[in-house]
Symmetry: C2
Subunit: 147 residues, 2 copies
DNA sequence: TCAAGATTGATGCACTTGCATAAATTTTCT
DNA sequence: AGAAAATTTATGCAAGTGCATCAATCTTGA
């Protein structure tokens, strides 16, 4: 039984470092996007989800689940994206309560324009700091946390 | 040279999962703290730093560096902590511009009161999901990201 | 069928964060 | 010493987030 569980302090240290590292790297990546005049990563994530979706359209509740955001945050994020013309809100045909959100061509253009910057930022602030095999290791270990 | 760098997609996937996993686990831990009537984790972190510091006192600029927070966020977080009585602000003796922030006995009491909840939350939402060795693995890999 | 309950999405209000900038020193450099 | 630059902290204002709650619709089940 002595090895069935990590040392408490090792686990707490890993927890602390997880929060610190992910926060620091995220901040650096966001800074690069902003420096290049792009909107925050959350905008990119929504547009990316839409671009992958059937008919480039999703319900807000789907976006909420995929992005792990609170309902009211999704609602307002979509407001901002719609106001900027990157998505459009349509009445949902199958559900009278709901809305459908569709990627516009401007949204698709933004997605394409952001990608090189985003990719370069992740590479510089994340990928290049790792050693071979680290990405796979992280992916595996962190997979246990996402359920 | 073929193996000197991870596959781009493996790195991007690891990046995405890092953000998702750390965000999700953080949210769950914060929820537990709030459910038990405690303030956010940021408050705990400040109090913990102070409790470890010489004379339980730090300059705001030190807290800023240790917690990787923006200067104005530190300034206001300390305002809230002082208003709640958990710290006190003193004129810095060595630097006329600066302030010194000292943990009060109420702050120390809060720190002690939060710890069991915090520890249990991390254990339930993080530690228990890991397998033996994962904590050390994470700590090592993530160490490359914190510089 | 139809009332009770669950789901979807929006919104008012308070609080927090980000940005730009100010004010008071301290440090550096000539 | 004295001017210029850097550091430390605070703050007004705009924007984003969390909470509670509402209105509309869909689903369930007697």
């Amino acid at each position: 039984m002595s090895k069935s569980t990590p040392t408490p302090s090792a686990a707490i240290d890993a927890w602390a470092r997880l929060q610190r590292a992910s926060g620091a790297v995220l901040a650096r990546v966001e800074t690069r996007l902003k420096t290049d005049g792009f909107p925050p990563l959350g905008w990119y994530d929504v547009l990316l989800e839409l671009s992958r979706a059937e008919d480039r359209t999703l319900r807000p509740v789907e976006i909420e689940k995929r992005m792990l955001l609170a309902q009211y945050n999704v609602s307002r994020l979509l407001d901002r994206l719609a106001a900027a013309g990157y998505i459009e809100k349509l009445k949902s045909p199958e559900d009278g309560r709901g809305v459908s959100v569709r990627l516009t061509s401007e949204g698709e253009a933004l997605l394409k324009a952001m990608w090189p910057c985003y990719q370069a930022a992740v590479e510089a602030e994340f990928t290049n700091l790792l050693e071979p095999g680290d990405a796979e290791t992280l992916w595996n270990v962190l997979g246990r946390l996402v359920r």
